[in-house]
């Protein structure tokens, strides 16, 4: 089963459809994205070039089953197709965040949150606390919160 994202005029993903593998085989029996695009154009009345194949098992530029990641992330409705870098970007979580091309994710301008201390991790494991860093857009910093308090 193959998956294709339907791309809108502004590059946003409008929908994601599945396609039978047999519907994207070329004359030699090889899987070809363009054949799938033509099939989708014919049956869904939307231009072939605005159907982009996406990988169900790719997330944050990693393949869940150990294969080769494909186009950054599995496309979802509201994602943006980056034609130049061949990446499906999730919606930007905060206006100050920037693209991390190596992981196909967004990151804060000061990077990822600090690691939890060993004490905080043990408290999370013991379920007495639930320590978590949340992004504070106003102060442009990570703030540590106990969600179990």
């Amino acid at each position: 089963m193959a998956h294709f994202a339907k791309i809108g005029m502004n590059g946003k993903v409008l929908n994601v459809l599945t396609l039978d593998d047999n519907d994207m085989l070329d004359a030699n029996g090889n899987s070809d994205e363009r054949v799938g695009q033509q099939h989708l154009e014919q049956h869904n009345n939307w231009p072939a070039e605005m159907w982009i194949q996406t990988s169900y098992n790719t997330s944050a530029n990693q393949h869940k089953l150990g294969g080769t990641p494909f186009r950054g992330n599995y496309a979802g409705i509201g994602y943006t197709w980056d034609d130049e870098n061949e990446i499906f970007w999730s919606p930007k979580p905060y206006s100050s965040w920037v693209k991390d091309f190596s992981t196909a994710t967004w990151k804060s301008p000061i990077g990822h949150p600090p690691e939890l201390t060993s004490e905080q991790s043990s408290q999370n494991q013991a379920k007495t606390h639930f320590w978590m860093y949340n992004w504070d857009e106003e102060n442009q910093s990570w703030s540590l919160t106990n969600l179990r308090s």
Partner: protein, 167 residues
């Protein structure tokens, strides 16, 4: 201080920007409207209608996170200088099966205006007037009464109505 919006009467409008070569075939839609109007038959669902419906569902869903499913559709013709009677697509005796939204699409229109009536708390009987243009849509709650007027004296106006419920 906090605020919670308990109810909303929102109006959505815009044009149907299909990719080049895949534009809505308004000739086909107006033919279907004519045919269904004069034969008194149900509006025929077609590839063109489906393209319009899919566009609306997908774009409203993407932009406003509103998941719509269509309940019914029909076409209407308005003669020059005709003003419709008051229209209302919800059934007060059967609200469970009534649609949530009414969408009007300008198939072939000229000087076509839609007047939507609403109450704003104790301020009753207010209305909003908006022009419906070719290849544009207006969507509003089906519980709002509205009228459609063809404010010119030469051409028929063709309008496609689709009613939706949200899920």
């Amino acid at each position: 201080m906090k605020k919670k919006v308990l109810s909303e009467q929102a109006l959505y409008w815009g044009n149907v920007s299909m990719p080049k070569g895949f534009e809505i075939d308004t000739g086909k839609l107006s033919e279907d409207i004519l045919h269904s109007s004069f034969t008194n038959k149900e509006f025929p669902y077609s590839k063109t209608w489906n393209m319009l419906n899919t566009y609306i569902i997908e774009h409203i869903g993407l932009k406003y996170n509103l998941s719509l499913t269509n309940k019914n559709s029909w076409g209407s013709i308005y003669k020059p200088n005709q003003i419709s009677k008051s229209l209302f697509n919800a059934n007060l005796m059967d609200l469970y099966n009534s649609p949530d939204f009414t969408l009007l699409y300008g198939v072939k229109v000229n000087n076509c205006f839609v007047e939507i009536h609403y109450d704003d708390n104790r301020r009753k009987g207010k209305s909003w007037n908006i022009e419906l243009k070719n290849n544009e849509f207006i969507m509003f709650p089906s519980t709002n009464v509205f009228t459609i007027s063809n404010e010119q004296k030469e051409n028929l106006n063709f309008i496609q109505t689709i009613v939706y419920e949200y899920i």
